[in-house]
């Protein structure tokens, strides 16, 4: 059984730990790997994994060992495979253990996801380390066969196929959300602080179509609260003319997938939910993580170029996504987007078929390890 150490530092939000937790589970359950996940912020992790004890430094969740990564790092056996997620720096004492190991571990820097062309030219490149003979491999998730692929569990398709309307209705009821009517548009909202949201909420409130928004706890509910001028916590509902907004409790990863499957349009952000929205095959819009000097717009454009290739309504998608990321008028862009919703949904299936040609990320990692 190959042992894996995955190191994760929570910078902000839940994307880092969300991705690492999915990966850890997939390696453990699908590849029979012996996985140990090191995480510096157990409290953040516990939101995704409520069974965790916050004040325990070593525990198991199923077959996966969870270790609280603290500054006084203990002496431990180094794993066969070491992953530093999202360019975090490994503890020096652990690196020293890696150099002393009789067989050098496979050392992987799991990078951020990007659709930019340069990623293909950097994927699997080696990084010599100045203080040792160890070699680190840079592993880039991506959307093509020349990258590391995306996280996707083997049973994802079957689970989604089994999620029919009756199951979806039951799921939403469990969240305190009653069944929607046929003419109601159901939208999931997961976003960073977004200056375009108030105008969009207004547009929905003033529209002729009933819009039901299921808002994730955090920046989304905070902005909704300000717009309504009312407190807005989990399990509450607010309404203004055609718009109804439900505040959702914090959802586990499997429940978040189901939310995406249950909605007509999904608003997502960052990296983890962005990938899950694609697998959901529903129209979606992505708020990309903001970077210095609007660097995120280059990354957004790179993804749109790939995603919208050969799509006849690419212009309406591009306009709406850009407006949601601060470029252009959100209201007019929304009207174009929603008017072409069915076509965009069909295109989402075409896109996923294209992604199916690339092995998933865990598979590519396992393949890299087997080669070393």
């Amino acid at each position: 059984m190959i042992s894996w150490d995955i190191f994760c530092k929570v910078v902000d939000n839940y994307g880092d730990i969300g991705t690492c937790w999915r990966l850890a589970q997939q390696l453990a359950f699908e590849y029979n790997a012996n996985v140990r996940l090191w995480i510096d912020n157990i409290e953040s992790f516990s939101c995704l994994c409520p069974s965790l004890s916050i004040d325990v430094s070593r525990q198991h969740v199923g077959p996966i060992e969870i270790r609280h990564w603290k500054s006084d790092f203990p002496t431990v056996d180094v794993a066969d495979v070491v992953i530093e997620a999202f360019a975090c720096d490994l503890p020096q004492v652990y690196i020293e253990g890696m150099t002393r190991r009789a067989v050098a571990p496979v050392w992987i820097n799991l990078e951020y996801l990007s659709a930019e062309d340069w990623v293909e030219g950097c994927h699997l490149m080696q990084s010599p380390q100045s203080r040792s003979s160890l070699k680190k491999h840079f592993f880039f998730p991506g959307f093509t066969s020349k990258t590391g692929g995306l996280i996707r569990e083997r049973d994802l398709d079957s689970l989604r196929a089994a999620f029919g309307p009756t199951v979806a209705a039951g799921f939403l009821r469990s969240l305190g959300v009653d069944s929607k009517t046929d003419d109601e548009l159901q939208i999931s909202l997961f976003c960073y602080d977004n200056p375009a949201l108030p105008r969009l909420l207004q547009c929905w409130a003033d529209g002729r179509t009933s819009v039901r928004v299921l808002a994730a706890t955090g920046a989304a509910t905070e902005q909704v609260s300000v717009w309504f001028g009312e407190e807005f916590s989990a399990d509450r509902k607010l309404q203004r003319r055609s718009l109804t907004v439900h505040a959702l409790p914090f959802l586990s990863q499997s429940h978040y997938d189901r939310l995406l499957w249950a909605c007509d349009i999904n608003f997502v952000r960052g990296e983890d939910s962005f990938v899950r929205a694609q697998w959901a095959e529903r129209p979606f819009v992505w708020q990309i993580y903001p970077q210095a000097q609007n660097g995120q717009l280059v990354k957004l454009a790179a993804f749109l170029t790939r995603y919208l290739d050969n799509f006849e309504h690419s212009d309406v998608v591009r306009r709406f996504w850009q407006a949601w990321n601060g470029v252009g008028d959100i209201e007019s862009a929304w009207h174009g987007f929603v008017a072409n919703r069915k076509s965009i949904q069909e295109h989402g299936k075409v896109w996923v078929n294209q992604l199916d040609q690339t092995a998933d990320l865990a598979n590519n990692l396992a393949h890299l390890v087997r080669r070393k």
Binding site: F86, S114, W118, C122, S127, P128, E271, G295
Partner: protein, 190 residues
């Protein structure tokens, strides 16, 4: 030995990799996620001349090599080398392959003060100033009534014919400032 941060690496810098001095021939910095970056470097082994590639996180510390440096100006090209000259009119030939990252900016008229690096008495690389000014030989004029919303366009530099993206208001004959590290247009010089 000195410490070099990977994100500060430039073509012509010399670092130790696997205890061997290598010169950076081409440095490509790509922004990754959350304001981090990765640095892809094509290097040449100074002992064996073998060319290879490596990648680093931008904040990674590398072992730099202290080398002799001299301020020089560009003189001319004599295949297969470019020739630089110092203030005492000593000439130094550097093979074009070592300068592949900056060749697009080398023109006989340039007066930029460059830094030539020497390893064991041999000139091995040149570093240009962080920014340089070059003339635009050709670019498409901005059509009146153009509502395409494009904010950049292609421009060709005089002498080297290097093609880069510039702001749409740049015109033929304009002098423009270029960042030699990123290769990006910075501004039009009046």
């Amino acid at each position: 030995m000195s410490v070099k941060i990977a994100g500060d690496l430039r073509s012509g810098n010399v670092i130790m990799v696997d205890n061997v001095p290598v010169i950076a021939l081409k440095v490509q910095i790509n922004k990754s996620g959350r304001n981090t970056a990765v640095v892809k470097v094509r290097t040449k082994n100074l002992l064996t001349s073998r060319v290879s590639e490596a990648i680093f996180k931008a904040d990674e510390k590398l072992e730099g090599v202290m080398l002799e440096k001299k301020e020089c100006t560009y003189s001319y090209y004599s295949e297969p080398s470019h020739v630089f000259v110092d203030s005492e009119y000593n000439q130094y030939e550097i093979d074009a392959e070592s300068l592949s990252d900056i060749e697009k900016y080398l023109s006989p008229d340039m007066t930029d003060i460059c830094e030539v690096t020497f390893y064991e008495g041999r000139p091995i690389s040149v570093v240009l100033p962080q920014t340089i000014i070059r003339e635009v030989e050709y670019t498409e004029p901005v059509a009146r009534g153009d509502t395409s919303g494009k904010i950049t366009k292609s421009a060709i530099l005089k002498d080297t014919k290097h093609d880069l993206q510039v702001s749409s208001f740049v015109e033929i004959g304009d002098k423009i400032e270029i960042d030699t590290v990123t290769g990006e247009f910075k501004r039009r010089c009046t």
